[in-house]
Protein backbone atom coordinates (compact mmCIF):
# COMPACT_ATOMS: atom_id res chain seq x y z
CA UNK A 1 0.00 0.00 0.00
CA UNK A 2 2.87 2.37 0.87
CA UNK A 3 5.44 0.82 -1.44
CA UNK A 4 7.34 3.21 -3.71
CA UNK A 5 10.45 3.05 -5.83
CA UNK A 6 10.35 6.40 -7.62
CA UNK A 7 9.89 10.03 -6.67
CA UNK A 8 6.64 10.33 -8.57
CA UNK A 9 5.20 7.29 -6.77
CA UNK A 10 6.27 8.77 -3.44
CA UNK A 11 4.60 12.11 -4.24
CA UNK A 12 1.43 10.29 -5.28
CA UNK A 13 1.36 8.48 -1.92
CA UNK A 14 1.82 11.72 0.03
CA UNK A 15 -1.18 13.19 -1.81
CA UNK A 16 -3.32 10.07 -1.56
CA UNK A 17 -2.83 9.63 2.20
CA UNK A 18 -2.25 13.32 2.99
CA UNK A 19 0.89 12.49 4.90
CA UNK A 20 4.41 13.89 4.77
CA UNK A 21 7.23 11.94 3.12
CA UNK A 22 8.78 10.78 6.41
CA UNK A 23 5.55 9.12 7.44
CA UNK A 24 5.07 7.33 4.11
CA UNK A 25 8.67 6.07 4.30
CA UNK A 26 8.22 4.79 7.86
CA UNK A 27 4.89 3.18 6.96
CA UNK A 28 6.44 1.43 3.96
CA UNK A 29 9.25 0.11 6.18
CA UNK A 30 6.66 -1.16 8.65
CA UNK A 31 4.62 -2.75 5.86
CA UNK A 32 7.64 -4.44 4.25
CA UNK A 33 9.21 -5.80 7.43
CA UNK A 34 6.25 -6.27 9.76
CA UNK A 35 8.25 -4.60 12.54
CA UNK A 36 6.36 -2.51 15.12
CA UNK A 37 6.34 1.24 14.54
CA UNK A 38 8.04 1.99 17.86
CA UNK A 39 10.90 -0.47 17.09
CA UNK A 40 11.55 1.16 13.75
CA UNK A 41 11.62 4.59 15.35
CA UNK A 42 13.87 3.48 18.19
CA UNK A 43 16.25 2.02 15.60
CA UNK A 44 16.37 5.39 13.82
CA UNK A 45 16.79 7.32 17.08
CA UNK A 46 19.71 5.10 18.03
CA UNK A 47 21.34 5.91 14.68
CA UNK A 48 20.76 9.59 15.32
CA UNK A 49 22.54 9.22 18.66
CA UNK A 50 25.53 7.51 16.97
CA UNK A 51 25.67 10.43 14.53
CA UNK A 52 25.59 12.95 17.38
CA UNK A 53 28.31 11.09 19.22
CA UNK A 54 30.52 11.03 16.12
CA UNK A 55 30.11 14.82 15.73
CA UNK A 56 31.00 15.34 19.39
CA UNK A 57 34.02 13.06 19.16
CA UNK A 58 35.35 14.64 16.00
CA UNK A 59 35.00 18.17 17.37
CA UNK A 60 36.41 17.47 20.82
CA UNK A 61 39.39 15.24 20.07
CA UNK A 62 42.52 15.68 18.02
CA UNK A 63 42.07 12.57 15.85
CA UNK A 64 44.62 11.29 13.37
CA UNK A 65 43.77 8.87 10.58
CA UNK A 66 45.55 5.52 10.23
CA UNK A 67 47.58 6.86 7.30
CA UNK A 68 48.44 10.07 9.14
CA UNK A 69 47.12 12.06 6.18
CA UNK A 70 44.17 13.68 7.89
CA UNK A 71 42.54 14.68 11.16
CA UNK A 72 42.11 17.60 13.52
CA UNK A 73 40.83 20.03 10.91
CA UNK A 74 37.17 19.95 11.91
CA UNK A 75 38.12 21.72 15.13
CA UNK A 76 39.88 24.50 13.27
CA UNK A 77 36.81 25.37 11.23
CA UNK A 78 34.57 25.01 14.27
CA UNK A 79 36.68 27.44 16.29
CA UNK A 80 36.64 29.95 13.45
CA UNK A 81 32.86 29.71 13.39
CA UNK A 82 32.60 30.03 17.18
CA UNK A 83 34.48 33.35 17.17
CA UNK A 84 32.23 34.68 14.43
CA UNK A 85 34.83 34.84 11.67
CA UNK A 86 33.47 32.30 9.18
CA UNK A 87 32.85 33.88 5.78
CA UNK A 88 30.20 31.29 4.98
CA UNK A 89 28.25 32.33 8.07
CA UNK A 90 28.63 30.82 11.50
CA UNK A 91 25.76 28.33 11.36
CA UNK A 92 26.81 27.02 7.96
CA UNK A 93 30.46 26.82 9.04
CA UNK A 94 29.48 24.90 12.19
CA UNK A 95 27.48 22.47 10.03
CA UNK A 96 30.44 22.04 7.68
CA UNK A 97 32.76 21.51 10.67
CA UNK A 98 30.44 18.76 11.90
CA UNK A 99 30.57 17.12 8.46
CA UNK A 100 34.37 17.22 8.62
CA UNK A 101 34.30 15.88 12.18
CA UNK A 102 32.27 12.78 11.33
CA UNK A 103 34.36 11.98 8.27
CA UNK A 104 37.56 12.43 10.32
CA UNK A 105 36.19 10.02 12.95
CA UNK A 106 35.52 7.54 10.15
CA UNK A 107 39.10 7.85 8.85
CA UNK A 108 40.43 7.28 12.37
CA UNK A 109 38.59 3.95 12.80
CA UNK A 110 35.85 5.51 14.89
CA UNK A 111 32.16 4.60 14.92
CA UNK A 112 29.87 6.27 12.36
CA UNK A 113 26.59 5.70 10.58
CA UNK A 114 27.08 5.07 6.86
CA UNK A 115 24.57 7.56 5.42
CA UNK A 116 24.32 6.37 2.77
CA UNK A 117 27.99 5.25 2.72
CA UNK A 118 30.96 5.54 5.07
CA UNK A 119 32.68 7.83 2.57
CA UNK A 120 29.74 10.26 2.67
CA UNK A 121 28.90 9.79 6.35
CA UNK A 122 29.48 13.46 7.30
CA UNK A 123 26.95 15.17 5.05
CA UNK A 124 23.69 14.32 6.82
CA UNK A 125 24.98 14.80 10.39
CA UNK A 126 26.34 18.21 9.38
CA UNK A 127 23.51 19.55 7.26
CA UNK A 128 20.62 18.03 9.13
CA UNK A 129 21.52 17.53 12.77
CA UNK A 130 23.48 20.71 13.43
CA UNK A 131 21.00 22.93 11.62
CA UNK A 132 18.00 21.20 13.21
CA UNK A 133 19.45 21.50 16.70
CA UNK A 134 20.25 25.18 16.23
CA UNK A 135 16.66 25.73 15.15
CA UNK A 136 15.47 24.04 18.34
CA UNK A 137 14.01 20.91 16.71
CA UNK A 138 13.36 17.89 18.94
CA UNK A 139 14.97 14.45 18.69
CA UNK A 140 11.64 13.13 17.40
CA UNK A 141 11.52 15.69 14.58
CA UNK A 142 15.12 14.99 13.57
CA UNK A 143 14.47 11.23 13.56
CA UNK A 144 11.49 11.89 11.29
CA UNK A 145 13.71 13.92 8.97
CA UNK A 146 16.10 10.95 8.80
CA UNK A 147 13.20 8.91 7.38
CA UNK A 148 12.70 11.61 4.74
CA UNK A 149 16.42 11.38 3.91
CA UNK A 150 16.21 7.58 3.79
CA UNK A 151 13.25 7.76 1.39
CA UNK A 152 15.25 9.88 -1.05
CA UNK A 153 18.22 7.53 -0.69
CA UNK A 154 16.02 4.50 -1.34
CA UNK A 155 14.85 6.00 -4.63
CA UNK A 156 18.44 6.67 -5.72
CA UNK A 157 19.56 3.17 -4.64
CA UNK A 158 16.75 1.52 -6.56
CA UNK A 159 17.08 3.51 -9.76
CA UNK A 160 20.76 4.41 -9.84
CA UNK A 161 23.57 3.67 -7.38
CA UNK A 162 25.01 4.87 -4.08
CA UNK A 163 28.44 3.40 -4.73
CA UNK A 164 31.50 5.47 -5.66
CA UNK A 165 32.99 2.47 -7.47
CA UNK A 166 29.93 2.37 -9.69
CA UNK A 167 28.92 6.02 -10.00
CA UNK A 168 31.71 8.26 -8.69
CA UNK A 169 31.49 10.73 -5.80
CA UNK A 170 28.24 12.17 -7.19
CA UNK A 171 26.65 8.85 -6.16
CA UNK A 172 27.99 9.10 -2.60
CA UNK A 173 28.37 12.74 -1.52
CA UNK A 174 25.90 13.82 -4.25
CA UNK A 175 23.27 11.40 -2.97
CA UNK A 176 23.92 12.27 0.68
CA UNK A 177 23.55 15.96 -0.18
CA UNK A 178 20.31 15.28 -2.04
CA UNK A 179 18.96 13.29 0.93
CA UNK A 180 19.96 16.02 3.40
CA UNK A 181 18.46 18.81 1.28
CA UNK A 182 15.10 17.08 1.03
CA UNK A 183 15.08 16.23 4.71
CA UNK A 184 15.84 19.85 5.69
CA UNK A 185 12.96 21.14 3.58
CA UNK A 186 10.47 18.78 5.18
CA UNK A 187 11.84 19.53 8.66
CA UNK A 188 11.26 23.24 8.01
CA UNK A 189 7.68 22.71 6.93
CA UNK A 190 8.07 22.56 3.15
CA UNK A 191 5.75 20.45 1.00
CA UNK A 192 6.65 17.03 -0.41
CA UNK A 193 7.07 18.65 -3.85
CA UNK A 194 9.50 21.22 -2.41
CA UNK A 195 11.33 18.42 -0.67
CA UNK A 196 12.01 16.58 -3.94
CA UNK A 197 12.83 19.86 -5.67
CA UNK A 198 15.60 20.46 -3.10
CA UNK A 199 16.79 16.88 -3.60
CA UNK A 200 16.90 17.49 -7.36
CA UNK A 201 18.84 20.76 -7.02
CA UNK A 202 21.42 19.15 -4.76
CA UNK A 203 22.03 16.20 -7.08
CA UNK A 204 22.19 18.48 -10.14
CA UNK A 205 24.76 20.73 -8.46
CA UNK A 206 27.12 17.85 -7.77
CA UNK A 207 26.53 15.93 -10.99
CA UNK A 208 29.71 14.60 -12.52
CA UNK A 209 31.72 14.67 -9.30
CA UNK A 210 34.38 11.97 -9.61
CA UNK A 211 35.69 9.56 -6.98
CA UNK A 212 39.48 10.00 -6.84
CA UNK A 213 40.69 9.13 -3.34
CA UNK A 214 44.39 9.49 -2.68
CA UNK A 215 45.83 6.00 -2.19
CA UNK A 216 42.27 4.64 -2.25
CA UNK A 217 41.70 5.93 1.29
CA UNK A 218 38.56 7.77 2.39
CA UNK A 219 40.45 10.95 3.29
CA UNK A 220 41.70 13.21 0.49
CA UNK A 221 39.62 14.73 -1.07
CA UNK A 222 36.70 12.87 0.53
CA UNK A 223 36.62 14.60 3.92
CA UNK A 224 36.33 18.12 2.53
CA UNK A 225 33.86 16.99 -0.12
CA UNK A 226 31.59 15.96 2.75
CA UNK A 227 31.65 19.58 3.92
CA UNK A 228 30.83 20.67 0.36
CA UNK A 229 27.89 18.25 0.25
CA UNK A 230 26.69 19.70 3.55
CA UNK A 231 26.82 23.30 2.31
CA UNK A 232 25.17 22.34 -0.95
CA UNK A 233 22.31 20.67 0.93
CA UNK A 234 21.65 23.79 3.02
CA UNK A 235 21.78 26.02 -0.07
CA UNK A 236 19.43 23.79 -2.06
CA UNK A 237 16.98 23.57 0.84
CA UNK A 238 16.92 27.38 0.77
CA UNK A 239 16.31 27.31 -3.01
CA UNK A 240 13.24 25.14 -2.56
CA UNK A 241 11.93 27.00 0.50
CA UNK A 242 12.30 30.27 -1.44
CA UNK A 243 9.81 28.82 -3.90
CA UNK A 244 12.14 27.73 -6.71
CA UNK A 245 10.76 24.78 -8.64
CA UNK A 246 12.98 22.16 -10.23
CA UNK A 247 12.53 22.26 -14.01
CA UNK A 248 13.62 18.60 -14.16
CA UNK A 249 11.69 16.04 -12.07
CA UNK A 250 13.71 14.22 -9.40
CA UNK A 251 13.40 10.82 -11.12
CA UNK A 252 14.97 12.21 -14.29
CA UNK A 253 17.80 13.82 -12.35
CA UNK A 254 18.48 10.45 -10.70
CA UNK A 255 18.55 8.76 -14.12
CA UNK A 256 20.91 11.44 -15.42
CA UNK A 257 23.25 10.91 -12.45
CA UNK A 258 23.24 7.17 -13.15
CA UNK A 259 24.03 7.65 -16.84
CA UNK A 260 26.86 10.05 -16.00
CA UNK A 261 28.18 7.50 -13.50
CA UNK A 262 28.18 4.78 -16.11
CA UNK A 263 29.91 7.07 -18.60
CA UNK A 264 32.71 7.95 -16.16
CA UNK A 265 35.85 5.94 -16.93
CA UNK A 266 37.00 3.43 -14.30
CA UNK A 267 40.00 5.66 -13.50
CA UNK A 268 37.55 8.16 -11.96
CA UNK A 269 35.58 5.65 -9.89
CA UNK A 270 37.37 4.78 -6.65
CA UNK A 271 40.35 3.07 -8.30
CA UNK A 272 42.79 5.81 -7.23
CA UNK A 273 44.06 6.01 -10.81
CA UNK A 274 42.71 9.41 -11.82
CA UNK A 275 41.95 12.92 -10.63
CA UNK A 276 43.62 13.98 -7.37
CA UNK A 277 44.78 10.41 -6.73
CA UNK A 278 46.87 10.45 -9.91
CA UNK A 279 48.80 13.67 -9.17
CA UNK A 280 52.55 13.29 -8.62
CA UNK A 281 52.26 14.41 -5.01
CA UNK A 282 49.42 11.96 -4.33
CA UNK A 283 51.50 9.15 -5.82
CA UNK A 284 54.47 10.11 -3.63
CA UNK A 285 52.29 10.14 -0.50
CA UNK A 286 50.78 6.79 -1.49
CA UNK A 287 54.27 5.34 -1.81
CA UNK A 288 55.14 6.63 1.69
CA UNK A 289 51.98 5.23 3.29
CA UNK A 290 52.18 1.76 1.79
CA UNK A 291 55.95 1.35 1.61
CA UNK A 292 56.61 -2.06 2.74
CA UNK A 293 57.50 -2.41 6.37
CA UNK A 294 56.16 -5.97 6.32
CA UNK A 295 53.80 -6.97 9.08
Amino acid sequence: MYEFSTGSQLLRLTRKFRKPIWEIVALSEQERTGRPWEDIFEDMRSRLRVMEESIRKGLSQELKSLSGLSGGEARRLYQRAMVGLALSGDRVARAAAAALAVTEVNAAMGKIVAAPTAGSSGVIPGALIIVAQELGKSEEEIAQALFTAAGIGLIIAQNATLSGAEGGCQAEVGSASSMAAGALVELLGGTAEQCLAAASFALMNLMGLICDPLAGLVEIPCIKRNALGCLNAILCADFALAGMESPIPFDEVVQAMYQVGKALPPTLKETAEGGIAATPTAKRLEEQIFKGDPL
Binding site: R32, I40, G110, I112, A114, L154, M179, G216, L217
Partner: protein
Protein backbone atom coordinates in the same frame (compact mmCIF):
# COMPACT_ATOMS: atom_id res chain seq x y z
CA UNK B 1 15.29 -4.47 -8.28
CA UNK B 2 16.42 -5.18 -4.75
CA UNK B 3 14.16 -4.35 -1.81
CA UNK B 4 16.12 -2.08 0.51
CA UNK B 5 15.38 -1.22 4.12
CA UNK B 6 15.66 2.39 5.31
CA UNK B 7 18.42 1.07 7.57
CA UNK B 8 20.49 -0.01 4.57
CA UNK B 9 20.42 3.67 3.58
CA UNK B 10 20.78 5.28 7.03
CA UNK B 11 23.21 2.60 8.10
CA UNK B 12 24.91 0.36 8.83
CA UNK B 13 26.42 1.62 12.05
CA UNK B 14 30.07 0.71 11.64
CA UNK B 15 33.63 1.47 12.54
CA UNK B 16 35.33 3.27 9.65
CA UNK B 17 36.89 3.96 7.34
CA UNK B 18 35.56 1.60 4.68
CA UNK B 19 32.47 -0.60 4.44
CA UNK B 20 34.29 -3.07 2.18
CA UNK B 21 37.81 -2.92 3.65
CA UNK B 22 36.90 -2.53 7.34
CA UNK B 23 33.30 -3.58 8.10
CA UNK B 24 33.35 -6.38 5.50
CA UNK B 25 36.71 -7.59 6.78
CA UNK B 26 35.43 -7.77 10.37
CA UNK B 27 32.41 -9.70 9.15
CA UNK B 28 34.60 -12.22 7.28
CA UNK B 29 36.69 -12.79 10.40
CA UNK B 30 33.60 -13.30 12.52
CA UNK B 31 32.08 -15.79 10.07
CA UNK B 32 35.32 -17.79 10.04
CA UNK B 33 35.39 -17.84 13.84
CA UNK B 34 31.88 -19.26 13.96
CA UNK B 35 32.73 -22.02 11.47
CA UNK B 36 35.68 -23.27 13.50
CA UNK B 37 34.92 -25.68 16.34
CA UNK B 38 37.15 -25.32 19.38
CA UNK B 39 39.26 -22.43 20.59
CA UNK B 40 41.58 -20.61 18.26
CA UNK B 41 45.33 -20.81 18.85
CA UNK B 42 46.66 -19.19 15.73
CA UNK B 43 45.35 -17.52 12.61
CA UNK B 44 47.27 -16.72 9.46
CA UNK B 45 45.70 -14.23 7.05
CA UNK B 46 46.71 -14.22 3.40
CA UNK B 47 45.59 -10.96 1.78
CA UNK B 48 44.94 -10.64 -1.95
CA UNK B 49 44.29 -7.80 -4.40
CA UNK B 50 43.15 -4.51 -2.95
CA UNK B 51 43.20 -6.01 0.57
CA UNK B 52 46.93 -6.68 0.11
CA UNK B 53 47.61 -3.27 -1.41
CA UNK B 54 45.67 -0.96 0.91
CA UNK B 55 45.03 -2.92 4.12
CA UNK B 56 47.14 -0.56 6.18
CA UNK B 57 45.21 2.64 5.48
CA UNK B 58 41.87 0.90 5.95
CA UNK B 59 42.64 -1.07 9.11
CA UNK B 60 41.72 -4.27 7.21
CA UNK B 61 44.24 -6.24 9.29
CA UNK B 62 42.80 -4.98 12.59
CA UNK B 63 39.24 -5.61 11.43
CA UNK B 64 39.93 -9.19 10.27
CA UNK B 65 41.57 -10.07 13.57
CA UNK B 66 38.78 -8.34 15.52
CA UNK B 67 36.26 -10.53 13.70
CA UNK B 68 38.25 -13.64 14.62
CA UNK B 69 38.07 -12.48 18.26
CA UNK B 70 34.27 -12.23 17.91
CA UNK B 71 33.86 -8.46 17.64
CA UNK B 72 31.11 -6.97 15.46
CA UNK B 73 31.81 -4.44 12.67
CA UNK B 74 30.32 -1.67 14.84
CA UNK B 75 32.44 -2.39 17.92
CA UNK B 76 34.82 0.48 18.65
CA UNK B 77 37.32 -1.99 20.11
CA UNK B 78 38.05 -3.01 16.49
CA UNK B 79 41.00 -0.61 16.42
CA UNK B 80 42.61 -2.41 19.37
CA UNK B 81 42.33 -6.00 18.18
CA UNK B 82 46.09 -6.62 18.04
CA UNK B 83 46.40 -5.81 21.73
CA UNK B 84 43.30 -7.89 22.54
CA UNK B 85 44.65 -10.91 20.67
CA UNK B 86 47.98 -10.71 22.51
CA UNK B 87 46.12 -10.53 25.82
CA UNK B 88 44.04 -13.59 24.94
CA UNK B 89 47.08 -15.48 23.66
CA UNK B 90 45.80 -15.76 20.10
CA UNK B 91 48.74 -15.75 17.68
CA UNK B 92 48.32 -14.07 14.32
CA UNK B 93 50.24 -13.32 11.17
CA UNK B 94 49.65 -11.65 7.82
CA UNK B 95 51.02 -12.52 4.40
CA UNK B 96 50.56 -10.43 1.27
CA UNK B 97 49.97 -12.34 -1.92
CA UNK B 98 49.88 -11.21 -5.52
CA UNK B 99 48.22 -14.43 -6.66
CA UNK B 100 44.88 -14.18 -8.45
CA UNK B 101 41.84 -14.33 -6.20
CA UNK B 102 38.11 -14.62 -6.95
CA UNK B 103 37.55 -10.95 -6.06
CA UNK B 104 39.80 -7.88 -5.55
CA UNK B 105 39.04 -7.85 -1.81
CA UNK B 106 39.87 -11.39 -0.77
CA UNK B 107 41.44 -13.07 2.24
CA UNK B 108 42.33 -16.62 3.14
CA UNK B 109 42.17 -17.40 6.84
CA UNK B 110 44.12 -20.43 8.01
CA UNK B 111 43.01 -21.17 11.55
CA UNK B 112 44.64 -23.60 13.96
CA UNK B 113 42.84 -24.59 17.16
CA UNK B 114 44.24 -25.66 20.52
CA UNK B 115 42.75 -29.08 19.75
CA UNK B 116 45.17 -29.31 16.80
CA UNK B 117 42.69 -28.90 13.94
CA UNK B 118 43.41 -26.67 10.97
CA UNK B 119 40.76 -25.01 8.79
CA UNK B 120 41.24 -22.89 5.69
CA UNK B 121 38.54 -20.39 4.72
CA UNK B 122 38.56 -18.06 1.72
CA UNK B 123 36.23 -15.07 1.68
CA UNK B 124 35.61 -11.87 -0.26
CA UNK B 125 34.22 -8.48 0.70
CA UNK B 126 31.90 -7.63 -2.16
CA UNK B 127 30.83 -4.08 -1.28
CA UNK B 128 28.74 -2.17 1.24
CA UNK B 129 29.94 -4.46 4.03
CA UNK B 130 28.45 -7.53 2.34
CA UNK B 131 30.63 -10.63 2.16
CA UNK B 132 30.81 -14.02 0.50
CA UNK B 133 32.62 -17.10 1.72
CA UNK B 134 33.99 -18.87 -1.36
CA UNK B 135 35.89 -21.84 -0.06
CA UNK B 136 36.08 -23.94 3.09
CA UNK B 137 38.90 -26.49 3.43
CA UNK B 138 39.47 -26.62 -0.31
CA UNK B 139 35.79 -27.09 -1.15
CA UNK B 140 34.08 -24.33 -3.13
CA UNK B 141 31.00 -22.93 -1.40
CA UNK B 142 28.87 -19.82 -1.63
CA UNK B 143 27.74 -18.36 1.64
CA UNK B 144 26.64 -14.83 2.64
CA UNK B 145 26.14 -15.15 6.38
CA UNK B 146 22.91 -13.19 6.11
CA UNK B 147 20.72 -16.03 7.41
CA UNK B 148 20.79 -18.45 10.28
CA UNK B 149 23.02 -21.07 8.76
CA UNK B 150 24.09 -24.60 9.60
CA UNK B 151 27.33 -25.81 8.02
CA UNK B 152 28.44 -29.42 8.26
CA UNK B 153 31.41 -31.33 6.93
CA UNK B 154 30.81 -34.98 6.16
CA UNK B 155 32.00 -37.89 4.09
CA UNK B 156 30.06 -37.94 0.79
CA UNK B 157 27.88 -41.03 1.07
CA UNK B 158 24.16 -41.87 0.79
CA UNK B 159 21.71 -41.05 3.57
CA UNK B 160 23.52 -38.30 5.46
CA UNK B 161 21.57 -35.42 3.95
CA UNK B 162 18.29 -37.17 4.82
CA UNK B 163 19.39 -37.80 8.40
CA UNK B 164 20.40 -34.17 8.88
CA UNK B 165 17.09 -33.02 7.38
CA UNK B 166 15.27 -35.28 9.82
CA UNK B 167 17.00 -33.73 12.84
CA UNK B 168 15.95 -30.28 11.57
CA UNK B 169 12.39 -31.44 10.95
CA UNK B 170 12.23 -32.96 14.46
CA UNK B 171 13.05 -29.51 15.82
CA UNK B 172 10.51 -27.77 13.58
CA UNK B 173 13.16 -25.89 11.64
CA UNK B 174 12.20 -24.87 8.14
CA UNK B 175 14.95 -25.11 5.54
CA UNK B 176 14.99 -21.98 3.36
CA UNK B 177 17.95 -22.99 1.16
CA UNK B 178 20.12 -26.08 1.16
CA UNK B 179 23.19 -26.88 -0.89
CA UNK B 180 25.78 -29.64 -0.84
CA UNK B 181 29.30 -29.07 -2.14
CA UNK B 182 32.03 -31.65 -2.65
CA UNK B 183 35.41 -31.93 -4.27
CA UNK B 184 34.93 -35.39 -5.75
CA UNK B 185 32.55 -38.33 -5.39
CA UNK B 186 33.06 -40.08 -2.06
CA UNK B 187 35.37 -37.31 -0.80
CA UNK B 188 34.68 -34.78 1.97
CA UNK B 189 31.55 -32.72 1.39
CA UNK B 190 30.09 -29.59 2.91
CA UNK B 191 26.42 -28.99 3.49
CA UNK B 192 25.09 -25.45 3.88
CA UNK B 193 21.57 -25.09 5.23
CA UNK B 194 20.03 -21.64 5.57
CA UNK B 195 16.97 -21.33 7.74
CA UNK B 196 14.35 -18.73 8.58
CA UNK B 197 14.66 -19.48 12.30
CA UNK B 198 17.57 -19.45 14.71
CA UNK B 199 19.25 -22.85 15.02
CA UNK B 200 19.96 -23.80 18.63
CA UNK B 201 22.97 -25.48 20.19
CA UNK B 202 20.74 -28.45 20.92
CA UNK B 203 20.01 -28.90 17.22
CA UNK B 204 23.73 -28.67 16.52
CA UNK B 205 24.42 -31.41 19.04
CA UNK B 206 21.76 -33.56 17.36
CA UNK B 207 23.39 -33.02 13.98
CA UNK B 208 26.82 -33.74 15.40
CA UNK B 209 25.55 -37.19 16.50
CA UNK B 210 24.54 -38.16 12.95
CA UNK B 211 26.94 -40.83 11.80
CA UNK B 212 29.39 -39.52 9.20
CA UNK B 213 29.18 -35.86 10.26
CA UNK B 214 32.68 -34.60 11.00
CA UNK B 215 32.02 -30.95 11.82
CA UNK B 216 28.96 -28.83 12.47
CA UNK B 217 28.76 -25.10 12.99
CA UNK B 218 25.99 -22.56 13.38
CA UNK B 219 26.33 -19.09 11.93
CA UNK B 220 24.18 -16.34 13.36
CA UNK B 221 23.21 -13.73 10.81
CA UNK B 222 25.67 -10.85 10.73
Amino acid sequence: MEAYSVFDIIGPVMVGPSSSHTAGAARLGKLARQIVEGSIKRVEFILYGSFARTYKGHGTDKALLAGILGLDPHDEKLAYSFEMAREKGVEFGFTLSNARAPHPNSVRMIITTWEGKQRSILGCSIGGGNVLLKEIDGIEVELTGKYDTLITTHRDRPGIVARVAKVLADHDINIAYMRVYRRAKGDRAIMVIESDQPISGEVKRGIREVEGIMEAAILNPL
